[in-house]
Symmetry: C2
Subunit: 243 residues, 2 copies
DNA sequence: TTTGCCGGATTGTCCGACAATGATACGAGC
DNA sequence: GCTCGTATCATTGTCGGACAATCCGGCAAA
């Protein structure tokens, strides 16, 4: 038989405090927007020193469970904003040596069904937002920077139109990772802008008319175009993404 | 014209320190496994107090950029483990009132292409792992707890077989969110286990034989079965997930 | 080679303190 | 009565220093 023992678990106080507060937030005992007691008060309640409480707060803060509303002292409970947690995912993927191909493949899988679903679930307001985003891309002949932001914004609008939070959050890290290479494509490939604008136009009309399969097909082409863009811009698909 | 001004940004020292260290990790100046200097030394270098450094370290730690190897004092650089960051995503989704339907829809979109891609990209080792996971599910007639873990493990094996980190990481939060309701299904629906075992069997053979479209089709049915399971178990798809 | 022991290094936690700045109450002026 | 400046208080950001626990590395003993 094995003489293996489990390691004896030791949790420092700052972790226990963080867990205790975090648990209350997750179980909604502390609700969004509610203000946390001051640090000294927390220290008193937990029976630890204020420094210890502060370390716990830093952890909860970085998890997005707490935030300080601009120019306010007291901390308040918040839901983790999508960009923040997506940024965490992106960082993780970067550190795990993810390649351009992997990101592109994920987009291939995810985006067409999202577009299709958006065509079915979109509200009038979603259409307005989508139109605005697409128009913003077509209007600006400005820097690649701006163009990239507009492109990803169109993706975001489409995902929002699905009214499925999970899909939006799954997509967000991909967009963040896409941005740098997309910038290169727009810079180096002359026809990129017009191809993207065309795709936007087709996506818009498909989603407006609620045509699921058409929306899906156009998104497939749009993503396929990205691959073409990588080739034209001389970006190796096997390239490991870097910051 | 607008009289809007950007708020003047004030960053506390602990954020600056965290950013400075985090930036070195992301740019690989500090490489994985490398040990960080002691807190007192960091405090000296940054010209701040040790408490300030500690607050910064807590943030990096919770982002998974730093870890303490078991029973070691010094902190070392690490890549964020998938489970940790997936847990962050799951938490965020929970707090954003995600419903069973949303998770299920995401699975519908994501899993079939993953299975298909796995059929194409799987290595011999992947097949072994998949077989083992599937066998573990079939063998154990034990508690629902264990069965759920085996089921999700099969999903993980399939995702790993794609050799695409992005897909694995995109899938992980869904599995975490799926687990509780899956437990209920296995408990309440008598035929659930055999249906799942059947699906595993079909997925295994499809992926072994490298048949992409068949793998995809079987995964589609597998996920569709979950929906049926929800209905049979009396779980409302519109239900907001809770901890 | 393993075991026992020791000193130094490092972390977890505490105490106490202080300046800067939000929050709040209050009175002055329109 | 309402806005505005001001005084007061509350709270955070940061600091200095301290101490026990424990991990690390080396060295001697078995």
């Amino acid at each position: 038989m094995s003489v293996e023992f489990d390691q004896i678990p030791f949790e420092p106080a700052y972790r226990k405090v963080a867990d205790a507060i975090g648990e209350r937030i997750l179980t909604r005992v502390l609700r969004e927007g509610e203000r946390l007691p001051p640090e000294t008060e927390l220290a008193r309640q937990f029976g630890v020193h204020r420094s210890t409480v502060r370390e716990a707060l830093r952890e909860l803060q970085s998890r997005g469970l707490l935030e300080r509303r601009t120019g306010s002292k007291r901390m308040s409970v918040s839901r983790p904003p999508h960009e923040r947690i997506a940024a965490g995912v992106s960082q993780a993927l970067l550190l795990h040596d993810v390649t351009v191909r992997e990101v592109w493949q994920a987009l291939t899988i995810l985006e067409p069904p999202i577009a299709g679903s958006a065509a079915l679930a979109r509200s009038a307001q979603d259409l307005l937002a989508l139109d605005a985003a697409a128009a913003a891309f077509s209007a600006r002949r400005a820097g690649a920077e701006e163009a990239v932001r507009c492109t990803t914004e169109v993706f975001r609008c489409i995902a929002r139109a699905t009214h499925n939070t999970v899909l939006g959050l799954a997509q967000e890290p991909l967009l963040q990772l896409l941005e740098p290479s997309l910038r290169v494509i727009i810079d180096k490939v002359p026809q990129a802008r017009s191809r993207i604008a065309l795709a936007h136009e087709q996506l818009r009309t498909s989603i407006h008319s609620g045509d699921e399969s058409q929306a899906r097909r156009w998104m497939e082409r749009h993503i396929a175009d990205f691959r073409r863009g990588y080739e034209l811009a001389g970006i190796d698909l096997g390239l490991v993404l870097t910051l």
